[in-house]
């Protein structure tokens, strides 16, 4: 598989009044042509900032891409001028967003917005662009597409708007599609429709996909490999099956354990990851997950573990990666409340 994208040591910080936010701390990964990967992480993990850094859409100030290279095709995107980057965005790489309303202009008809890119990037005439726009909307499963070009975004449902967002992203045949939580704002039954659609389009058009999500459930059946991010670092990177079946990082283990299992027998108890999300203002000198980690040892507080290989194409940033890879599990079923405080509460005046 020919390489499409090679990201090396990408580092992004935000300079705020409260201090320096270490949003993305030197992440490295690559993606082949037509390959699909997911970047998984919770809020503040840096997954969206990493993608926006790649696409050159980090608001600056306060944000700044401080280091790294993003080789896409044969050039480093971080070295391109704003005008050159604009040509790459939309044409060679496109993005769909969590809330399709953010990428649609509410005062312009869908037709105007869809044909704009076709005319600008591909030099189509208006009539030809209209035809192509209707074709694209039909492809994403919007009924009566040709008639609906003159409708405004608010006249469509959430699921339909996401379909329009996808049609717009695909209008110039990009070789890379970045999907930033495209199903998070949607209901489960609509989410299933959109996942189905993206999978079908990928097969049909063969573009590479980076799917950003917080949900290890949605992507299990749809990507080739997964990078798990925590506190601005990639903590585990593995082919999809290995990530679920041969997990080698405590955070990934924790994410999988805290997910509800729909085939669980009887009423089970979830195993949450204790503690709080990471503080990004802190200089990352020790392992950022250590404060929440059931597996932490002294070394975790002294050195931040680098991302090291554990098996073929599978890397993990944990000092105990090998043990966890080999099946070590520490389970904590302790209560989420202070039981001793219950008695005190009963005695408190009421």
């Amino acid at each position: 598989m020919a390489k499409l994208l090679e990201v090396t040591n990408l580092t992004t910080r935000f300079y705020t009044e409260d201090g320096i936010v270490h949003a993305v701390n030197g992440i490295t990964f690559d993606l082949g042509e037509g390959e699909s990967m997911a970047i998984v992480g919770e809020s503040g993990s840096g997954k969206s900032v990493a993608m926006k850094s790649m696409m050159g859409i980090i608001p600056s100030p306060p944000g700044k891409v401080e280091a790294g290279t993003v080789i896409f095709g044969d050039r480093d995107l971080l070295q391109l001028s704003a005008a050159e980057m604009r040509r790459v965005r939309g044409r060679e790489m496109a993005m769909i967003f969590q809330d399709p309303m953010t990428s649609l202009n509410p005062v312009l008809t869908v037709g105007v917005q869809m044909t704009e890119a076709l005319i600008m990037h591909l030099g189509m005439k208006q009539e030809q662009a209209n035809e192509r726009a209707a074709e694209l909307l039909t492809m994403v499963g919007l009924p009566n597409a040709a008639d609906r070009l003159k409708d405004y975004p608010h006249q469509f449902s959430g699921g339909q708007r996401q379909r329009i967002g996808i049609a717009m992203a695909l209008s110039c045949n990009p070789s890379l599609l970045i999907a930033d939580e495209p199903t998070t704002a949607l209901d489960v039954t609509i989410q299933a429709q959109i996942v189905d659609l993206v999978l079908r389009l990928k097969q049909q058009l063969g573009m590479a996909i980076i799917w950003i999500t917080h949900d290890l459930g949605v992507i299990a059946g749809m990507v080739d490999k997964i990078a798990v991010m925590y506190s601005g670092f990639i903590v585990e990177l593995a082919p999809v099956r290995a990530l679920y079946k041969e997990t080698a990082h405590p955070y990934t283990v924790g994410l999988l354990e805290s997910l509800p299992k729909i085939d669980a027998r009887r009423k089970e108890r979830l195993i949450p990851i204790k503690g709080l999300p990471p503080d990004l203002l802190r200089e990352p000198t020790y392992c950022p997950f250590a404060p929440r980690c059931r597996y932490n040892i002294e070394r975790c507080w002294e050195e931040n573990p680098p991302l090291l290989p554990i098996s073929k194409d599978h890397t993990s940033a944990c000092w105990r990666a090998e043990e966890i890879f080999n099946g070590l599990r520490i389970v904590d079923y302790s209560k989420e409340i202070a039981v001793d405080a219950i008695a005190a509460l009963a005695e408190a005046p009421l």
Binding site: T189, G221, P260, P277
Partner: protein, 360 residues
């Protein structure tokens, strides 16, 4: 709603509900909802004339037993939040009755409802919007106590500290402001506030939807622990069936203002009878690449229709794979199918009686 009851000279704070009536099977019914409806008028034009109604909740009936968690599940716009709010009388129901223990809430005056509300509290979805950013955590949690005239200020202070400890926060936080906390911690503050007046019934309106996955599990476990320790009863509202399994004893599924299926947790997950429940279950992604690859998914066509103009007959028929002519014409009746799971499948999908309340 009448105001006749408010003329009675009211004794000090409203006493806790002493008993809940028992049903035929000897279960204590803490909350009884019968034919509850909530319509919102659609107003148009300069005169704001009413041109129609959004039928957010359109005739729902169920019981919530003392000490249980009833999960109420449905997608956006199905009326689940309005149902929760109408039960607590935060929205005045258009029709129907809600009984809390031995009291008929729908016939109470404002004052009496306010007093009763001390025993029924709510936890909100968005921990960012539901806490006043200008109040300290201490004031947020003690506000309900002050409103209901519970204790003196020293006593309230003590109670707030215990409440913070119970929900796993440091009592030292009482003088901090909400913005100093993460989403999960804010939700704990919201829970502490709901517990302040020692309620017996709590409506939790999507309390985990705005939280990260690892934090969702914390909050679900916390609510379950609290229920065990304090003997609470919950109505737990959610937009999908995945987390609900871990906290509910029974589950009700709503679609377009109606309950389409209500059953024990295991029945709903193992033998869903209504085609919509089946689709909701099948839409839940499974975090396992092997299973996910093999799984046959039911993908519903189209979107949820507008509650202002629901489809004729069965409201689900335009999206239902099993729909027949009778489904397009006749409105299915919500009825008790008993516990027989096998043959009930057939009438549940092919005949007007598309819904079944399997009780056990």
């Amino acid at each position: 709603m009448t105001t006749e009851t408010s003329t009675i000279v009211t004794p000090a704070p409203s006493p806790a509900p002493q008993f809940a009536p028992t049903d035929a099977l000897g279960r204590k019914v803490l909350v009884q909802v019968r034919d509850l409806k909530k319509y919102f008028p659609i107003r148009r034009g300069v005169l704001r004339r009413t041109v129609g109604h959004i039928k957010a909740v359109d005739g729902i009936s169920f019981d919530i037993y003392q000490g249980e968690t009833l999960g109420l599940v449905g997608e956006s716009g199905c009326g689940k939040s309005t149902a929760g709010r109408s039960i607590l009388q935060l929205e005045e129901p258009t029709a129907g009755t809600v009984k809390f223990a031995d009291r008929e809430l729908t016939e109470m005056g404002r004052n009496d409802i306010r007093k009763t509300r001390r025993h029924m509290q709510m936890i909100f979805q968005d921990p960012y919007a539901s806490l006043n950013p200008r109040m300290t955590v201490g004031n947020i949690i003690s506000e309900p106590l002050a409103i209901h005239g519970v204790g003196d200020s020293a006593g309230r202070k003590e109670r707030v500290q215990e409440l913070l400890r119970v929900v796993g926060l440091n009592p030292y936080f009482v003088n901090r402001y909400p913005h100093e906390f993460s989403g999960g911690q804010r939700q704990r503050i919201g829970v502490a506030r709901a517990l302040a007046t020692n309620p017996s019934f709590i409506v939790a309106d999507e309390p985990i939807s705005a939280l990260d996955v690892s934090i969702q599990a914390q909050v679900v476990n916390m609510l379950d622990d609290l229920k065990q320790e304090l003997g609470l009863t919950y109505l737990f509202i959610a937009h999908d069936l995945s987390m609900v399994r871990y906290i509910s004893d029974r589950v009700a599924v709503m679609y377009l203002g109606r309950i389409v299926e209500l059953s024990s947790r295991n029945e709903v997950y193992d033998h869903p009878l209504h085609p919509y429940t089946q689709a909701l279950l099948s839409a839940i992604p499974v975090p396992d690449p092997d299973k996910e690859g093999r799984r046959q998914r039911i993908i519903l066509e189209g979107d949820v229709p507008s509650p202002a103009n629901p489809p004729s007959g069965c409201r689900f028929h335009p999206r239902c794979a099993y729909a027949t002519d009778v489904c397009r014409q006749e409105d299915p009746v919500f009825r008790d199918l008993g516990t027989a799971a096998g043959p009930a499948w057939w009438p549940a999908t092919m005949r007007p009686a598309t819904t079944g309340e399997v009780r056990n």
